[in-house]
C-alpha cells in the first residue's frame, strides 16, 4: 500500500507530465490552478488521468475546494 508521500509524488509527477511542465518544477503545496494556469475542464482531465493511474473513482465533489497537490493526494489515498 502506498504511503501518502508516495501518492503525493505520483500526483505531482502525473500533473507535470500531463501539463508538460518540467519534472521537479511542481511542489506538493503548490496551488495547481495558479501554478499551472489551468481551468476547471483541464482539472477534470487531470482527475481522469489520476483515476486511471490509481484505479479509483474520485467523485469531483470530493475535490471541490482542493487546490494543492498534497490535499488532492489525501483524497486519493482515502480511496486506495
Amino acid at each position: 500500500m502506498r504511503t501518502l508521500d508516495q501518492t503525493t509524488q505520483e500526483v505531482v509527477d502525473l500533473a507535470s507530465k500531463h501539463f508538460n511542465v518540467p519534472a521537479g518544477s511542481l511542489a506538493p503545496s503548490d496551488d495547481f490552478f495558479k501554478k499551472l494556469g489551468i481551468n476547471s475542464l483541464q482539472a477534470l482531465e487531470l482527475l481522469s488521468r489520476l483515476e486511471n493511474h490509481f484505479g479509483i473513482e474520485l467523485p469531483d465533489y470530493e475535490v471541490q475546494g482542493v487546490s494543492d497537490f498534497r490535499t488532492l493526494a489525501e483524497r486519493i489515498q482515502s480511496r486506495l
Binding site: F33, S40, L41, S48, N52, D60
Partner: protein, 267 residues
C-alpha cells in the same frame, strides 16, 4: 445533402457512413447556432438514409464531445426578456432540442457517438441519442443540471433510464458528479472503450462492421430494441420549463456566468 460545412458542425457522407463533426469553440456548447445546424442535419437525413448504414458523431474540439448547453447564451438571452417571453423562448428552445434528439434517436441507420473529453449535460444527452457510445479512456460524463436548479432538459433522463440501471442514474443526477469512461462502461453507458485519442478510430471500425448487414433487418432490430419514450420525454419538457421559471434558476445561471471560481464545472 451529403455534405455540409457550417459554423458549428460539418458532415460528410462516404461509403455508407456519414460523419458529423461538432466543431464550435471552445467545447461545442449547445446554443442557437449548434442547434440550428443540428436541425439542418436532421432535415438532411431523408436525403441519404436509404444509402446509409451508420452515422458517427464526434467532436473536433480538444476539450471534448460537448460541455452541454451554452449557459452564457442562455443567460444573456434570458435577462434581455421579460419573464413571459423568457419562459416561452426557453420552451421553444427545449422543444427544438427534443425534436432533434428524437430524430437522431429514430434514425434508421446505426448512430455512434465517439466521445473524448467532457460529455456533460446537453452533450451527454446528445450522445445518448446514439445507439453506441465509444469513449476514449479520458472521457468524462456528467449531468450537472441540479446545480442550476434544473434537470436535464434535452431528453437525458428518459433515455438514461431506458438504457441503464436506476441506481447509477440517481447517483449521477442527484450528486451532479462526473464519472470517467471506465466507470461509464461498467454501468453500460459506454459500449466500447478506446485508448486516448482513439475514439474516432474505434468508431470508424465499428461503423465498417455495421455496414456489412442487411439494412432492413438492421433498422427493424434497432427500432425493436430501442423504443423512444415519447410520453416521458414530453413530461420532461414540462418539468424543465416549470423549474426554469423559478427566480433561483436565473440566479444560478448568473452565478455560473459571472463566476471567477477556478472550477465552475464541479458540483
Amino acid at each position: 445533402m451529403k455534405s455540409f460545412s457550417g459554423k458549428a458542425l460539418h458532415w460528410e457522407w462516404r461509403d455508407g457512413v456519414v460523419e458529423v463533426t461538432l466543431d464550435r469553440e471552445p467545447a461545442n456548447e449547445i446554443g442557437t447556432v449548434l442547434l440550428g445546424e443540428l436541425e439542418q442535419f436532421v432535415a438532411a437525413i431523408k436525403s441519404f438514409e436509404a444509402e446509409t448504414a451508420a452515422c458517427i458523431m464526434h467532436s473536433g474540439q480538444k476539450r471534448g464531445f460537448s460541455a452541454g448547453a451554452d449557459l452564457r447564451e442562455l443567460y444573456r438571452g434570458a435577462i434581455a426578456l421579460p419573464e413571459k417571453e423568457r419562459n416561452a423562448g426557453v420552451r421553444d428552445f427545449v422543444v427544438r432540442c427534443h425534436a432533434v434528439a428524437n430524430a437522431i434517436d429514430a434514425a434508421p441507420f446505426v448512430t455512434i457517438a465517439a466521445v473524448h473529453g467532457v460529455c456533460f449535460g446537453g452533450g451527454l444527452e446528445l450522445a445518448l441519442t446514439c445507439d453506441i457510445i465509444v469513449a476514449d479512456k479520458m472521457a468524462r460524463f456528467a449531468f450537472p443540471e441540479l446545480r442550476l436548479g434544473l434537470i436535464p432538459g434535452f431528453g437525458g433522463i428518459p433515455r438514461l433510464k431506458r438504457d441503464l440501471g436506476n441506481a447509477f442514474v440517481r447517483d449521477l443526477l442527484l450528486t451532479g458528479r462526473s464519472v470517467n469512461a471506465a466507470r461509464a462502461q461498467s454501468v453500460g453507458l459506454v459500449a466500447q472503450l478506446a485508448g486516448e485519442g482513439e475514439a474516432l478510430k474505434v468508431a470508424r471500425a465499428t461503423a465498417a462492421q455495421v455496414t456489412k448487414f442487411d439494412a432492413i433487418a438492421r433498422a427493424a432490430a434497432k427500432k425493436f430494441m430501442k423504443p423512444i419514450p415519447y410520453a416521458e420525454l414530453k413530461q420532461e419538457i414540462e418539468l424543465f420549463c416549470e423549474l426554469f421559471a423559478r427566480p433561483a434558476v436565473l440566479a444560478a445561471l448568473k452565478k455560473f456566468v459571472e463566476s471567477t471560481n477556478a472550477m465552475p464545472y464541479l458540483p
